[in-house]
Symmetry: C2
Subunit: 148 residues, 2 copies
């Protein structure tokens, strides 16, 4: 999976320049989950915790990147865009940011792929979580649309 | 209001360094609304439209800045944080980003201030909109909490 991680890192850096300012790093792709990180230093706010917009940006890209790598593994290319999101900020993040998005149900993902193959457009909802000291600091739910 | 705009610009630049990378500019504060902008060039994505995380960051700060300036006008200081948000991406943004947050009801705002004065903590929900060619491209609703 390391070549896939490197490819995604390069995609972020080349296609979305703000990811460099945020300092987004592709940490781990397991096939069913993707973890991204960003240093707190690049993303502080007035309270010296992580800026809500930075947390959101890393969370939205964890979902985007997971869909991107899974489609790529199937030889599929699609244009992935966010349609709607809902975020709960549960605790401030006072350390480096780490976000994980994982596919909770492979059956649900397969349904999304089947729909995409039939219609050339499909929607998928994914949850990205930021944990800190083993408790959830942020919960992001994103609805993504993929067009062929 | 221009001194207030300059003060907010300085606050963003000094307290939230990512605002410089995004290129956030305080465009207009009327007392009941705040408009922020950011150049598309700093915030492109893989489709050469605006990155969803950038749009979100400008939207969240329009609400934050409006609360901040209104509290300041009343001689109040509070720690303003986002608690929850809901975003709908209606159209891609293919031009420079402009976000406006406005207080829809002064009565609602006054209730928030009264609550804050009594309890030292209060919640307020604000909507930020991004328009493009006179249609709404993004609708952001944020629930903010202010602590004395």
């Amino acid at each position: 999976m390391e070549a896939e991680q490197r490819h995604l890192q390069q995609t972020f850096n080349e296609e979305i320049p703000l990811t460099k300012a945020i300092g987004i790093q592709v940490v781990e792709y397991t096939g069913s989950s993707l973890t991204l990180s960003a240093p707190l230093a690049n993303n502080t706010n007035h309270k010296r915790t992580a800026f809500g917009g930075s947390l959101y940006s890393v969370a939205i890209l964890a979902g985007w990147g997971l869909i991107y790598l899974r489609l790529r593994a199937l030889g599929l290319a699609g244009n992935i865009v966010i349609q709607e999101s809902h975020v709960r900020y549960i605790h401030p993040v006072s350390d480096d940011i780490a976000v994980t998005c994982h596919i909770e149900s492979e059956a649900y993902f397969q349904k999304f792929i089947n729909f995409f193959n039939r219609r050339d457009i499909a929607r998928i909802s994914l949850v990205s979580l930021i944990e800190q000291n083993s408790t959830i600091a942020l919960e992001f739910e994103g609805n993504y649309v993929v067009n062929a």
